[in-house]
Structure formats: structure tokens, C-alpha cells
């Protein structure tokens, strides 16, 4: 193999900066796969996506969801997505930026959604996650609680839960916590 190296040395000298290619940016396999996911997005009308860093940074984006049914109807909820270079080997990191009174989303924006963690598979995609989030907003469940109090109310008194959600998304206090208006 050593002859190869000598050949290379020479070639490099000759080639030098002859093929002056612009600044090269390495595109990770994760970025490419995400490019595919994004260009195939098929979101329901109630969901909109935006790219705060412009069209060339797809790895950080935001999805806003405005459910048209269920407890959270009329509210508008913003989720941030952070996708790593090893996507889809690793699931995107998703947080809810809108403070929400929800049994499966805590006040810091952590989300208990199986496909974001234990059930993530590389065959899933961004579309699946957005639908998962939409589903979480239309069908909150008390079985996977992150906000214990909200989960208990949903389980024991759905009417009170409904009223709490209306208070929260209209801008108001539920228990000790203040929620900003998000309608």
C-alpha cells in the first residue's frame, strides 16, 4: 500500500488548490434523513411548522398545534424540536414551550409520550411525532402522569378538569399555578 501514499503526496502537490471548492460543510446522515422527513411533512391544518434559524437549519424547528377538538380546543401550543446528527438512531428532543395544564406534560414542558423515548424506532418520523403530540392534546390520559394533580382531577372529576383547562388556556390560576393565555 505504501506506493499509494507516495503517489498521494505528489498528487496533492499538483492538485493544490486547483479545484477551489467553496467552504465545505459536512452534512450528517441525520441531517439528510431529516431533510427527507421535512420535505414529506403532511400536517393537519391545525399544525404549523416554522424554522427560526432559516431554511438551511432544519435541525431546530418549532411546531405550533391548535387542536380543533377536545379539552384544549382553541388553545395554541408551541413545541420545540431539537434533532441530533445521529437522527433517526436517536429520537428528537421535544419540549412544550407553552405552559400547559396537562396530565402528561409538566410545567417545565417535559412530555410523556412513548414514541419520544422508550418506543422510538428509526422507522418513525417527524410526522408521527407531530400526530402523537396532537393526539396527546386531544386525548390527555391520567395513566401516564407527569403533572400528578392534573392527572388526578382528570381521573376523578372530568368536569372539573375541563373547567381547569378552560381557565388555564384563557389565562388564569389553577391551584397555585398561573397559566398565560394561549388562545
Amino acid at each position: 500500500m505504501i506506493r499509494l501514499f507516495k503517489v498521494k503526496e505528489k498528487q496533492k502537490e499538483e492538485a493544490g488548490n486547483a479545484n477551489g471548492r467553496g467552504p465545505l460543510k459536512k452534512q450528517s446522515a441525520g441531517e439528510l434523513r431529516l431533510h427527507k422527513d421535512i420535505s414529506e411533512l403532511n400536517l393537519p391544518k391545525s399544525c404549523t411548522i416554522s424554522f427560526p434559524n432559516g431554511k438551511d437549519d432544519l435541525m431546530n424547528f418549532e411546531v405550533s398545534i391548535k387542536p380543533d377538538e377536545g379539552y384544549y380546543m382553541g388553545g395554541k401550543f408551541l413545541f420545540t424540536f431539537n434533532v441530533s446528527a445521529t437522527y433517526p438512531h436517536e429520537a428528537p428532543k421535544v419540549k412544550c414551550k407553552t405552559k400547559v395544564y396537562h396530565p402528561n406534560i409538566d410545567l417545565e414542558g417535559n412530555i410523556c409520550l412513548n414514541i419520544l423515548r422508550e418506543d422510538w424506532k428509526p422507522v418513525l418520523n417527524i410526522n408521527t411525532i407531530v400526530y402523537g403530540l396532537y393526539h396527546l392534546l386531544t386525548e390527555p390520559n391520567h395513566e401516564d402522569p407527569l403533572n400528578q394533580e392534573a392527572a388526578a382531577v382528570l381521573r376523578d372529576n372530568p368536569k372539573a378538569f375541563k373547567s381547569n383547562v378552560r381557565t388555564a388556556i384563557g389565562g388564569g390560576r389553577v391551584g397555585d399555578t398561573y397559566f398565560a393565555r394561549c388562545i
Binding site: 500500500m1 420535505s39 410523556c112 423515548r117 401516564d144
Partner: protein, 447 residues
């Protein structure tokens, strides 16, 4: 005296390099010239100066290589000292790459090791192209994936989709986790690259957040609760830094409190580090064995003194010893190391016409394509927001959008295939622009 010593040091190496053999590689030419050439011409980059990196530097220096460089962004911590044998207590806080290079140069005469104390992403691509072989002693998938993309990026193919040997940048990758390890040889274009076989890495175990919040059962649950939920609750806005010992200590104490509350045993500081950083305690002997295998493969690639490992060795020292070599196959459509589909284009063709051509190309039959070139999204068919932002590019010649580079790699996404088999896919294209009687230099000047 000096001569005697040097000849005794290379005695074992000479047996491999000076004598013919029946297991040698096809280009092997034994002799003193080969030994001298290896010393003079071969430049090796070691990526990582941790447990595996320390071993690799020592092994490669003792294998007769004289031009080594090492890159690592970390500083030495007390907890490294048990296995990263080049480091001493007084080195704590110093950059690993610098201390490792210095220590090996002190002990092995004739070797020159250039340290680089920085992130692998901080170096220009030209930096990586200088090396004959890149040896990886890393513990993260991200870093491997990055170096793999860089090394495979140098690979060029001829018109028959055959890899050009002189553009091939060989990699030797080592990895260890406790008593287990692997060593592999990646010859881009010939053997599977890291991305072809990314499924070899088991996905990280992630516990459901609600389990952490509500029903913790193990010490790891308590640690992840403190790390993922409690941290944010208490430190609004300040992000957790796994390399900050104060942050780690805080997580450990919170986890211990929670473990006590639920009567769960086993939360320790080192387990906290392990869970949060997703690391399994390193075993010095595993590093030594894997490094030796990697150094030997490096010597084989450089000298041709034997056929290389083909292509993935696993080692398990947990119960007795088990080791096995598996020959994995390339993913022919790999986006990183594959040839892609070749297309020759006029310099005048607009992005719109190019996208139309994809529909007629017999190997693609792709409709509704989105196009990306080296991180620039030239056209996105969806979502509407991005479509609008990229639409104006459609009228511009592709050649200009690609900075008038005569050749380049383009990735396209769309619906492709025939009849029932039509499905969405992502393809790599190798495009070359027809010269049109103008030389490359003229075109570069015109830019």
C-alpha cells in the same frame, strides 16, 4: 550503541516487514525500504486521547510509525487516572491530547506526535485529508458518525461507479464498553462504512418520563428523574452540563434523596455519572486488547504485510473469552459511502429543469423532488413555508447554486420507482457539469 538499540527495538517489526510471506497483501514489497517509507511517509491521526486513545498512541509509536497526531477536546480528570495510563495526578486539568503526546514522545524515541486540543468539528476538512489513515478511539456515536462522513467525503468514483483507490481514506475504529469491545477496518467504497451498519449500535435505553416522575423502581430511575425533570424545575433556563462536576454532584444528591424517599438502594456518584453520560465503566485490559488489534490493522493497511481484518472483530471478556470476526456487507445505497447515481448536466440547466429531469431519469423516476447540496436546501417541495422560501431558486442554474463547482454531490428526496413500487426515498447523486469549451479555471475566475 544507538544503532544497536534501534535495531533491537524493530526486531519484531522487521520479521513482518523484511520477509516475504504467504499471507501478505497483494501490493506487499518487503524490505528495508518499506520500513523506512512507513516511518517517513505514513501520517496517522488518532481521534480521541482517552482510555483507548492512550493505548493507541503507545501501540502505534511502538509499531514504528513516526508521524502521529492526536485530537481530543477533553481535559484530564481524576477519574481517568486508573486506566488512562499516560496521565499522572499532577496532569489533572491539562488537555489530554497534549499530555498524551508529550508522554509517548518522552518514552519512545524518534516518534513525533502533534496534539490538537479542540473539537473534531473545529478542524477544516483539509486537516483530515492530510492523513494516510485515521484511527478512532472514541466513545460516542456522534463523533464516529462525523469522522466517517468526513473520511467518506474524500472518496471519489469513476464513471463505472468504481471507487478511486487514491481517494480512499482508510479508518480503523476501536470501541470498548466494560468487558466488551470491537475493532473494525473501514475502507470507504470497499467495506461498509459506519453509516452502512449504524444499526450495530443498540439504541440508548430511555425510560418513560412518567415512570421517572411517578413510579421509580431502580436507582437509574431516580438519577434520570433528578437529571431530566428536577434539574429544569429548579434551574429555570440553565441547561445541565454533564462535564461540570458541580452539576453532576447536584444530580447525585437529588437522586439520593429521591431514592431514600422510595426506599430504593444503589444510587452512587459513579452510577450517576454512568447513567447521565450513558457510560459503562471502562476496563483497562479491554482497551489494551482492542487497541492492539487496531494498531495491528493500521500496520497491515499501511504496509500490506498481511490481509486486513475483514471487517469487524468483536471481543467479549466477560465470561472466559469470546472473539469473532464478522464480514459485514456494504449498503449499496448508503448516502455516505455509496457512489450515488451519476448525472452529467449542462451548466445552463436551471434547478427547475434539473428537478424535471429527475422524473425522466431511468434510475430515479422521481417526482416532487426536494434538493439539498452540502447543507444548503436549494428547493423544498414541502412544507409550504419552506417551499415559498426556496421557490426563487428554481429559475437559477444549478451550476450557480453549486458555487460553479464542476462536480458535486447532490441529495434529492421525492417519490420514486415504478407502478405499485413507488415510494418516497432519499437518493445521492453525483453530478458533473459539461465543460462547454470553457476550462475550470476560467469558470472559477468568472465567479
Amino acid at each position: 550503541m544507538a544503532d544497536l538499540r534501534s535495531s533491537s527495538r524493530s526486531r519484531d517489526l522487521d520479521k513482518l516487514l523484511l520477509r516475504p510471506g504467504h499471507l501478505v497483501g497483494p501490493t506487499f514489497e518487503p524490505g528495508a525500504q518499506l520500513r523506512d517509507d512507513l516511518q517517513e511517509y505514513v501520517r496517522i491521526l488518532v481521534v480521541g486521547a482517552g482510555g483507548l486513545g492512550c493505548e493507541l498512541l503507545k501501540d502505534l509509536a511502538l509499531s514504528g510509525f513516526r508521524n502521529l497526531e492526536v485530537i481530543d477536546m477533553d481535559r484530564i480528570e481524576v477519574s481517568n487516572l486508573n486506566r488512562q495510563f499516560l496521565f499522572r495526578l499532577e496532569d489533572v486539568g491539562e488537555p489530554k491530547a497534549e499530555v498524551a503526546a508529550k508522554r509517548v514522545m518522552e518514552r519512545v524515541s524518534g516518534v513525533n506526535i502533534v496534539p490538537h486540543f479542540c473539537r473534531i468539528e473545529d478542524k477544516e476538512l483539509e486537516f483530515y485529508s492530510e492523513f494516510s489513515i485515521i484511527v478512532l478511539g472514541l466513545d460516542s456515536i456522534e463523533a464516529r458518525s462525523y469522522i466517517n462522513a468526513v473520511a467518506c467525503g474524500f472518496l471519489e468514483y469513476d464513471a463505472n461507479d468504481e471507487p478511486l483507490e487514491e481517494t480512499m481514506k482508510p479508518m480503523v475504529d476501536g470501541g470498548t464498553e466494560g468487558f466488551k469491545g470491537h475493532a473494525r477496518v473501514i475502507l470507504p467504497g470497499m467495506t461498509p462504512c459506519f453509516e452502512c451498519t449504524i444499526w450495530l449500535f443498540p439504541p440508548q435505553v430511555k425510560f418513560p418520563l412518567c415512570t421517572l416522575a411517578e413510579t421509580p423502581r431502580t436507582a437509574a430511575h431516580c438519577i434520570e428523574y433528578a437529571h431530566l425533570i428536577k434539574w429544569d424545575e429548579v434551574h429555570s433556563g440553565k441547561s445541565f452540563d454533564p462535564d461540570n462536576p458541580d452539576h453532576m454532584q447536584w444530580v447525585y444528591l437529588e437522586a439520593a434523596k429521591r431514592a431514600q424517599l422510595f426506599g430504593i438502594p444503589g444510587v452512587t456518584y459513579s452510577l450517576t455519572q454512568g447513567v447521565v453520560k450513558n457510560i459503562i465503566p471502562a476496563i483497562a485490559s479491554t482497551n489494551a486488547i482492542i487497541s492492539a488489534a487496531c494498531a495491528l490493522e493500521t500496520l497491515k493497511i499501511a504496509s500490506g504485510c498481511s490481509k486486513t481484518l475483514s471487517n469487524y472483530l468483536t471481543y467479549n471478556g466477560l465470561e472466559g473469552l469470546h472473539t469473532k470476526v464478522t464480514e459485514f456487507v456494504r449498503d449499496k445505497d448508503c448516502l455516505v459511502c455509496g457512489p450515488g447515481i451519476f448525472m452529467e448536466l449542462e451548466t445552463s440547466i436551471t434547478l427547475k429543469l434539473f428537478i424535471d429531469q429527475l422524473e425522466e431519469h431511468p434510475k430515479l423516476l422521481m417526482s416532487g423532488a426536494s434538493v439539498t447540496v452540502r447543507g444548503k436546501n436549494l428547493y423544498m417541495a414541502a412544507p409550504p413555508l419552506l417551499e415559498e422560501m426556496t421557490r426563487s431558486n428554481l429559475a437559477i442554474p444549478l451550476f450557480e447554486l453549486m458555487d460553479k463547482s464542476p462536480t458535486g454531490i447532490v441529495h434529492v428526496t421525492g417519490t420514486a420507482g415504478k407502478g405499485d413500487k413507488r415510494q418516497s426515498c432519499l437518493r445521492k447523486l453525483r453530478v458533473a457539469f459539461k465543460a462547454n469549451g470553457i476550462t475550470d479555471t476560467d469558470m472559477a475566475g468568472g465567479a
